[in-house]
């Protein structure tokens, strides 16, 4: 095992511990309590919050911005793929060549999507006004992670740089907005709870 392998493993450990602290804080902050009289149903509303409410046919953030939405979907799927690949590497499981080519192709599309998202942030006024360094760093680290994941599929010489990038990313996740990986679920749950309690979601046909 190389030093950079152990660096990435240690970073993963630190990352998991800090994210678990965030999860612990969220789950121990107390369940939602509402003294008003419940009007609707919670379970279907929470299920809707994670399904129908996110559908590109419903969400303006999706259907009014289809190219960005599609780029975002690819970017997220690419990130999950790169994470799986990282676990494979950590467990020293090798991936066969044709599968490598498939993953590499997919990761290239997602990395291009990531670069597109960075450029959009740089060049669209309203996005630039909304952004802080964390937004750029997060985007760049995730995109580099995907790019280096492609490199190591074809050339072992990239492993040291790959593990350093992975380590930086893992250590950075709990610092900035990338921790939405944890908070997203809690936010959607609460939104579903709120609308379900008041019988707003799931929407009725009339």
């Amino acid at each position: 095992m190389t030093w950079y392998y152990w660096l990435a493993a240690a970073s993963l450990l630190i990352n998991v511990v800090i994210l678990l602290i965030h999860i612990f804080r969220l789950t121990t902050s107390g369940k939602p309590t509402d003294f008003s009289k419940q009007r609707g149903k919670l379970t279907p509303a929470i299920a809707f919050a994670f399904s129908g409410a996110m559908s590109p046919t419903r969400k303006e953030s999706a259907f009014l911005h289809l190219p960005t939405y599609i780029a975002g979907i690819f970017y997220h799927l690419g990130t999950f793929t790169a994470i799986f690949l990282f676990f494979f590497n950590l467990a020293q499981i090798s991936v066969n060549e044709s599968f490598s080519r498939f993953i590499a192709g997919f990761l290239m599309i997602s990395a291009v999507s990531g670069i597109g998202i960075i450029l959009k942030r740089l060049f669209v006024n309203r996005l630039r006004a909304l952004s802080n360094p964390d937004d750029y760093i997060s985007n760049i680290l995730v995109t580099l992670f995907q790019i280096f994941s492609v490199f190591i599929l074809f050339d072992d010489a990239w492993f040291s740089a790959y593990y350093i990038v992975v380590s930086l990313l893992l250590l950075y996740i709990p610092v900035g907005k990338l921790k939405h990986a944890v908070y997203f679920f809690a936010a959607r749950y609460h939104l579903g709870y709120f609308y379900g309690w008041r019988d707003v979601w799931p929407p009725k046909k009339f």
Partner: protein
């Protein structure tokens, strides 16, 4: 611009502490600054400036949270855009959280992550109010309600005289000198509330509801002590003052031993009493609370009132009040009523939980300093109305009716804005 005193900052960031659940923590840590919520907000649509993007407003609150409540924000504020509470931050927060958000919640349903943006805006308003930065005009409405029992400062004598005059009118209209608008009667089925705009400016909407109660042979009363359904402290975010107002109506329900509290057509008032009220006083109500729209729909379903849609021939559309629809789930009831009360009905696009705010929500009508913005964002509603070709716009909210009246004169819409009760009263068949 200097940082505020330690005491003031403590008061401000108090809103982030002692949370009863994880809701605030979840939402305030979730925004990814994608900016895709921009086009869901009437402010951004009317004035495409970055500061009107919902996420920008959220970030004002979240950046203060990061600065004072997170390790990264304390150590590397520049990295994560953590902001100090100083005069510049306060000025921007007041301008955008009070003056550029109607708390309509439309952006929340469209946010890519699922942030409850109006909840975060209200958290920011609470923060500002805790530090004493609530807009004076909005606070005046709260003070008047606290001092006089209603936000218009109507004296008991004036109120009683108005009701007596309306009662005489009702008796003539229904040709029954036993017809009453009962005041302060104990043990009735319903305690009916009002928006103080009704006795002050629109008494005919009280007559309309009285006529409906008469037709339904309802057991009801109005309290002279506490009839005001509005609660502007909900908009300033002052929990203590909001609690006093909620508690007054709660106590009056107990005092008059009424079984149901029926909320007049007032979006924010309904929300503040029905949904937020029990949480503000931290106990469940032992009585039923429902809006007059639900009650009227029930009367029609039960056959307690009869309507003749032929009486209203003009094309009618509905403006959905955000607080009633998106934050209260009352969507079908007003449509069911219209189906029975008018001959020609059409919908705006979009409508229901997708509706656009009229521009008067969030206390905007009480803050004259933002009038210009209010009329600009209302243009979207005006255009929606024009597209329907409707001559009557029905809306179950007096606040919306007021804004619709302003839009009517500014954009020359040539419409009549009416409450649901007024339309139902016009279509009533008295046997």
């Amino acid at each position: 611009m200097g940082e505020l005193s330690k005491d003031k900052i403590e008061k401000g960031i108090e809103v982030f502490k002692n949370q009863k659940d994880s809701k605030l923590r979840a939402h305030i840590n979730s925004c990814v600054h994608c900016g895709l919520c921009a086009e869901s907000c009437t402010y951004y649509l009317a004035m495409p400036d970055a500061k009107f993007v919902p996420a920008y407003k959220v970030d004002l609150v979240a950046s203060v949270y990061r600065r004072y409540c997170t390790l990264t924000g304390k150590v590397f504020p520049g990295l994560v855009g953590a902001r100090k509470l100083d005069d510049a931050t306060i000025e921007e927060m007041v301008d955008l959280l009070f003056g550029a958000c109607t708390m309509c919640g439309r952006c929340s349903t469209h946010c890519s992550i699922g942030l409850d943006i109006s909840f975060l805006v209200r958290t920011g308003r609470k923060m500002l109010t805790n530090m004493g930065y609530e807009p004076a005009a909005l606070q005046t409405s709260v003070n008047t309600a606290l001092e006089t029992g209603n936000n218009m400062g109507i004296s008991d004598t004036d109120f009683i005289e108005t009701i007596e005059w309306l009662q005489e009118d009702l008796q003539m209209e229904v040709n029954d000198d036993q017809a009453k608008i009962p005041l302060n009667e104990k043990g009735k089925e319903i305690l009916y509330t009002l928006n103080p705009r009704e006795p002050k400016f629109f008494p005919l909407s009280i007559s309309a509801m009285a006529k409906i109660f008469y037709a339904a042979n309802e057991s009801w009363t109005i309290s002279t002590k506490m009839y005001d359904i509005t609660n502007y402290a909900y908009y300033t975010g002052n929990q203590d003052e909001s609690k006093i107002i909620v508690k007054r109506l709660y106590d009056e329900m107990e005092n008059l031993e009424a079984k149901k509290c029926v909320l007049a057509e007032c979006g924010h008032g309904s929300r503040a009493f029905r949904w937020e009220g029990p949480n503000v006083i931290e106990k469940a109500y032992p009585f039923e609370v429902l809006t007059s729209v639900e009650l009227i729909a029930q009367y029609i379903r039960d056959g307690r009132i009869k309507l003749d849609p032929e009486k209203i021939q003009e094309l009618v559309t509905i403006h959905d009040p955000c607080n009633l629809v998106r934050s209260g789930g009352i969507v079908q009831e007003q449509r069911f009523i219209m189906e029975n009360a008018v001959k020609n009905f059409t919908e705006m696009t979009p409508h229901g939980i997708e509706n656009y705010c009229c521009g008067g929500g969030g206390g905007q009508l009480a803050m004259s300093e933002y009038n210009e913005r209010r009329m600009k964002i209302g243009k979207l509603k005006a255009d929606q109305i024009i597209k329907t070709g409707a001559k009557i716009v029905a809306s179950p909210c007096h606040n919306c009716i007021d804004q619709l009246a302003h839009l009517n004169s500014t954009y020359k819409l040539g419409i009549q804005a009416k409450t649901i009760a007024e339309i139902v009263a016009d279509a009533l068949v008295l046997e």
